[in-house]
């Protein structure tokens, strides 16, 4: 899309700022602030949204793959099914499709993690440590909190 959406969103934010300058009604100002927050997030993440999701899929995909090698029986089967589901339609890069894949892996991660937490072996411990790190990177990608002051 030309001009690129972040640039257009920047103009929209500037417009909102100008509208807000003339406002004294705190209801209206609060609503403008809400719209401005939303547009800011979209502007910031437009370019990186798909690649962040692909990074998340790769990160959790690696964890689940390692988990599937460590687990056995039904658990191994379920973890493999999650990996297979993510591999299907791998050329679909719509944001909604990528989010579904990431959620499939997150679901598998929940099962894997609950199991690993009760495992004692060094391989399981190492995988659990890496899993915590993967979750931290996932959280950092989604960390949009603005401190109050």
């Amino acid at each position: 899309m030309r001009p690129n959406p972040p640039l257009v969103l920047q103009a929209a934010l500037k417009t909102l700022e100008e509208v807000a300058l003339g406002q004294t009604d705190e209801q209206v100002l609060a609503r403008l602030h809400g719209v401005s927050t939303l547009l800011s997030i979209l502007q910031r993440e437009w370019d990186t949204c798909a690649s962040n999701l692909l990074d998340g899929i790769a990160r959790y995909g690696d964890i689940v793959r390692r988990g599937s090698l460590l687990a056995d029986g039904d658990r191994r089967e379920r973890l493999r099914r999650a990996l297979d589901a993510v591999a299907d339609g791998s050329s679909d890069f719509r944001i909604s499709a990528l989010e579904i894949k990431l959620d499939q892996l997150r679901g598998a991660v929940i099962e894997l993690q609950a199991w690993l937490e009760d495992e004692e072996g060094p391989t399981a411990r190492a995988l659990l440590a890496d899993l915590w790190q993967a979750e931290h990177e996932d959280a950092l990608t989604e960390d949009r909190n603005t401190p109050l002051w």
């Binding site: 997150r106 609950a114 959280a139 989604e142 949009r144």
Partner: protein
């Protein structure tokens, strides 16, 4: 149920209701405005004027708290109103005077209760300026002394024995954890591995049994209290109030959500947790158990994410078009999980 109110009709409909409730046929309402924020109830402020029987003019600011069509929380209006009635007048707990409760929807389109309006603001801008460090510290000390006063109240002695239900077997932690886990389950927007890991950790390592069980405000923080001048003038928003472990309120008020970006180790950018605890212990007459406090601090991540998820879910389901509900999940869930991982102490 009457039709919903809006800014063009609120004053007239509130006046009609208040004439009946007060018995003052000449009562007039002006300056009706919806107050921003408040995701669990809709809040309106009005000025009401009338003449007493003897002719003396009365003028009062009133607050209407209306049940919204969609809410972040399933809360009981009657319980919240009873709380205000029971604790109003307690010298250590500043509250607005509760006046009327209306369980029907004829008057304003939905049930509501009415309180007297108190002076003050929940977000005094000067409080956030670096130069206000001392004042901020003073406010925060007041906040924790008041929270201690709430924890000092035995609910049975203030007429709440039949209103609030004590957790069975004093398992306050289990009741609350189940409640918020269910909230997450009922508003499922996708798997949340970190929040699930926190829930497992909380179950594996429960806190020491809560003694005594006390009134828990449920959402005690800056934003839910009013400041005016140098005083904290009111504790508001009791919709999550319940009986439980008083550490719960302390932990919630310590949450990372209400801290600053520059000095996250201090509460409100000004007060060390140890100082807050000391203030709380002075008025509560209780001693903080740090192990217990840590459990409840970890629990705040579950509760907070359940609230943010509920907002996102309600928005996704089209039950509300409030922008705040739509953006809450975007803004807060990831941050909450980041803080949870830091508090779990599992990162390399």
């Amino acid at each position: 149920m009457g039709s919903p109110v809006d800014s063009s009709t609120f004053a007239d409909r509130a006046a009609t209701y208040l004439r009946g409730a007060t018995g003052a046929p000449d009562l007039e309402v002006s300056n009706a405005r919806k107050i921003i924020g408040g995701a669990s109830r809709h809040t309106w402020s009005v000025d009401a004027r009338w003449n007493e029987d003897g002719g003396s003019p009365q003028e009062h600011g009133l607050i209407f708290r209306l049940d919204p069509p969609s809410s972040l929380l399933e809360s009981n209006r009657g319980t919240e109103y009873s709380l205000y009635r029971a604790l109003y007048g307690n010298p250590g707990i500043p509250l607005p005077e509760p006046l009327f409760i209306e369980d029907g929807g004829d008057a304003l389109g939905m049930p509501f209760f009415v309180m007297r309006r108190l002076e003050g603001t929940p977000w005094p801008l000067e409080l956030f300026l670096p130069a206000s460090q001392e004042r901020r510290q003073s406010f925060l000390r007041q906040m924790f002394r008041i929270l201690g006063s709430i924890a000092a109240v035995d609910h049975r002695t203030v007429g709440l024995g039949d209103v609030l239900v004590a957790p069975p077997g004093d398992d306050a932690w289990a009741v609350e954890l189940e409640r918020w886990e269910k909230t997450l389950h009922d508003h499922d927007l996708g798997p949340m591995p970190v929040t699930r890991a926190v829930i497992r950790e909380l179950r594996r390592n429960p806190p020491p049994r809560a003694t005594p069980i006390r009134i828990v405000h449920g959402d005690y923080r800056v934003g839910n209290v009013l400041f005016s001048g140098d005083a904290l003038t009111a504790v508001l928003d009791w919709e999550m109030c319940h009986l439980g472990d008083p550490h719960e309120d302390l932990a919630w008020s310590f949450a990372r959500n209400w801290r600053s970006g520059t000095t996250p180790e201090k509460i409100g950018n000004a007060l060390d947790p140890a100082e807050a605890i000391a203030e709380w212990e002075t008025t509560s007459g209780l001693c903080v158990n740090l192990e217990c406090l840590r459990w409840w601090q970890l629990f705040t991540h579950v509760k907070a994410n359940a609230i943010w998820t509920t907002a996102a879910y309600e928005f996704s389901q089209g039950k509300t078009h409030e922008l705040m509900f739509g953006t809450m999940g975007w803004l807060l869930i990831g941050s909450q999980e980041k803080w949870a991982l830091e508090d779990l102490g599992v990162l390399r």
